[in-house]
Amino acid sequence: MTKVRRGSRGAPKKKKKGDTMYMGHGSEDPAKPPIDSRIQHEIGKHLRAHYDDVISEPVPDRIMELLEKLEQSVAQKR
């Protein structure tokens, strides 16, 4: 599959990227009032709990091994 990017003139950023991704949801009605602060707080709390839960996991060995390899490749070049 080949993709032809039209009219980008070499610009690296495609501003329209997300435009097709949220079709079909009912939440983007601009007339809809913002959700109340209690709900916002609740969502924020859970979002951080999810995020902090991943942060607290140990970094997997394969990532540390990759870093070592990258550093060795630098050391060898010098």
Binding site: K17, H25, R48, H50, Y51
Partner: protein, 182 residues
């Protein structure tokens, strides 16, 4: 390209955060770790373009999210759709107890469109300002703000956090509201 000790330490310190962002984007720790690895390889190959003293974390996050979207484009929409369908099946109604747990939240989070999920996580959990998030995503600050707001609205719906009166047509929300009142 030689990497200074200070930069190396900053890089190491950023990895847990990068993983958390990657898990949030992909919804899978396996794919997240692949993504982090690809990010590190990319970062290494272009460390010479990084200006020491500027925000390394934002720089790494930018590489990671660009990598995520380029994979998404390569893999095509069908994979994402299949995953979305899977997530939707998993996403049973909000749990019976009044307390939502972490897995309820994660099931809802993966159902958001990627651009909304990304904006919400960058601003709400990774600790970036709206301006920084806009720079990372290569879009306007206003776009980030509206994505965050849409993400919150959608999550509120998915998690049944919507205030009752706006959702009279939703039997589930109605049940929840009744139960809360009773």
């Amino acid at each position: 390209m030689a990497v200074s000790n200070a930069l190396r330490e900053d890089l190491l310190a950023s990895i847990p955060n990068l993983r958390a962002f990657a898990v949030s984007l992909t919804g899978s720790s396996e794919r997240a770790d692949d993504l982090v690895q690809e990010t590190l390889v990319k970062a290494w190959s272009k460390f010479h373009t990084f200006q020491e003293g500027t925000n390394l974390r934002a720089w790494l996050f930018t590489i990671l999210r660009n990598e995520f979207y380029s994979q998404l484009r390569k893999r095509g929409r069908e994979v994402e759709d299949a995953e979305g369908a899977y997530a939707a099946r998993l996403a049973t109604q909000p749990s019976q107890s009044s307390h939502m747990d972490l897995s309820d939240f994660r099931r809802a989070l993966v159902q958001l469109p990627p651009d909304q999920r990304e904006a919400l996580v960058l601003v709400g959990a990774s600790g970036f300002s709206y301006e920084e998030a806009a720079e990372i995503c290569g879009c306007a600050v206003g776009t980030i703000k509206s994505r965050v707001s849409r993400a919150r609205n959608r999550l509120a719906e998915l998690l049944g956090l919507e205030p009752g009166e706006t959702h009279a047509a939703d039997p589930l929300a109605a049940t929840l509201t009744t139960r809360t009142i009773a």
